[in-house]
Amino acid sequence: MLATSPAFKENARRALADAGLQKALARSGTSFVARRAAAVAALPEFEQLREIGREIKNHTLANLDFYLEAYEARVLAAGGKVHWCATAEEARAAVLRICQDAGARTVTKGKSMISEELGINEHLERNGITPFETDLGEYIIQLRHEAPSHIIAPAFHLNREDWEASFRKSHTDLPADRVFHERRDILTEARSRLRARFLAADVGITGANFLIAETGSSVIVTNEGNGDLTQTLPRVHIALASIEKVAPTLEDATSLLRLLARSATGQDLSVYTTFSTGGRRSGDLDGPEEYHVVLVDNGRSAMLGTEFQEMLRCIRCAACMNHCPVYGAVGGHAYGWVYPGPMGSVLTPALIGVDKAGNLPNASTFCGKCESVCPVKIPLPKMMRHWREREFERHLTPSTMRSNLGLWAWFARRPGAYRLATRAAAALLGFWGRRRGRFTSLPMAGGWTGGRDLPAPEGETFFSRYARAQRERRL
């Protein structure tokens, strides 16, 4: 996927002016937040579970090599195969090779963010194999040739009228004047459409929420049942997973599952939580004959041992973006690559480079809400700050910002000069703005005042007021 993250500011400007997107954001903005809050309130142990989730992930990351080898041994024992892929290119090639060996013409797909990261669909299409997304949200964005705008609700940015228009445009064999009375009618049309795809596909590709070292299982979590049809009906199942998805035991995965659905959709557990281990066993009447795991690094191992290692705890619940004021204002596409919101602002620079994604960790108010809702307690604001530092060190920060920061630093190191300068500025701005009490525009700050007014200072700095109050108390 080609990143437009370098153009974040332009993307954000466009998103703010997009009436359809703003309608979708306004409607959906609070629903995830309220549902999560209700689910968390109903489980008194939730805070303790967050700490346990953090510990399980830290333990696993510290022993990642051991658990991946143990995992592979169990997959092999169950008759499956593990394809170790260091890069996106290797992973694409592995998926294509498995599909070609299976003589695949069509492939069904369960929702997978790593598939978006790797660009699996485009690669299969270029090689004459047709992928069909089967998650309802992924299905419509595939019809519209768009990217997901949210990691668990890919069509977060769309309104009902967009669904209807896209279905009319794509399902041309159905009567053009059919009426969608309810949302359910849209769902029913997609269900019947995709049923035929499930039955015809030669290969099913899913992601994995967890890999389990104890048993060699891959775990998917869905509400629709599309992921299960994808991995049950075709002759070959491919599970795509990045290396940090491994959890040691069923008990470890169970504790993480208690956090995942509550943090994501506010459910106690998603409808289908499915553990797949190898291919069809002797006597089985259904299930895939071949089971492959494409295990992907693609930049993760390089995060180990750095200040970004903790990001690898992420279980992709989306609570951070659901609670983020920046995501809520501009939506997911503005972030310009696969992972939006706070987790994207930390992960994207690690995976595609801070030179391309440096805007993202800057697009934060540092309100800290993301960290406070993260089920595995990832210190997202702290890591965004680390990216800002790296960006500055590598001289990627725009020159005006660098020189202004330099100017500020000069004054900050000289308290006398700092107080003199702020007193002069406060007096000047206070005098200048005394009539209206605010500025709608200021020289050299047009970017800031373009979106809001600057309240005028009252003519006195904090220091001088404090000093005066101290003097008066003494009198």
């Binding site: 949302r183 359910r184 995709l194 299960d228 939580t273």
Partner: protein
């Protein structure tokens, strides 16, 4: 890739003593904190299971014994205006049910096909914590029966209802031996759904629109 991981962790392969500690952890799979909500006296635990299935838009019929199942199935299908034909898991317990008492029921044993509208699965365990059914695959428990039909019926013995998930994993380990997972284990909590259209919940996405549990009251402690 393992080399890159070890470089990141600033060490070589784990020394043998540390690796054996981790292997012990895998083999003993220690439990973490288990929420208190399912720690209840037996009758209340089963009631919690039923309440949670219903909370997730499933339904439950509590039947006295296996002999009452044909009547309960026939009644449910009639109430829902569903055809009286269904695909049934070739499980010995389901086979032992006196189906001939309801001669109008048309039963085909095996996996589910795309044309099936109703399927009957054999439940391995129920988890009271969230009203979750554990459905492991086996020749006598095909996975497609959980997925393809619009109406999924599941027979479950009340004695197989446990509190938290951890107890269900232990039932599975006791059934098959440590570390031997069935090809597929589905944890099913309610009916298929999607909120992808305007974040508004709609039931009946790709999986079953109806989930009906036939709970056989065989637990002496629960009466």
């Amino acid at each position: 890739m393992l080399g890159a991981i070890r470089r990141g962790l600033r060490r070589g392969a784990l020394p043998a003593d540390q690796a054996s500690l981790l292997a012990t952890r895998l083999a003993s799979h220690p439990r973490h904190l288990i929420p208190a909500r399912s720690r209840l006296p037996r009758p209340a635990q089963i009631d919690l299971f039923v309440a949670n299935v219903e909370k997730e838009f499933g339904t439950v019929a509590r039947v006295a014994d296996l002999a009452s199942v044909p009547g309960a199935v026939a009644d449910y299908l009639a109430q829902q205006n569903l055809p009286s034909a269904f695909a049934m898991a070739p499980h010995p317990e389901l086979r032992s049910i006196p189906w001939s008492e309801r001669p109008l029921l048309v039963i085909r044993e095996g996996r589910a096909e795309a044309s099936d509208t109703v399927a009957l699965q054999h439940g391995f365990a129920g988890v009271a914590e969230t009203g979750t059914l554990m459905l492991p695959s086996a020749p006598e428990r095909p996975t497609t029966l959980n997925l393809l039909a619009e109406t999924a019926l599941v027979l479950l013995r009340a004695s197989r209802v446990v509190g938290p998930y951890e107890e269900a994993w232990d039932l599975l380990r006791a059934d098959r031996g440590e570390g031997d997972m069935p090809r597929n284990v589905m944890l099913v909590t309610g009916v298929s759904r999607s909120a992808d259209i305007e974040q508004t919940l709609e039931l009946g996405a790709h999986g079953p629109r109806r989930l009906h549990v036939l709970l056989v009251e065989d637990d002496p402690d629960a009466r």
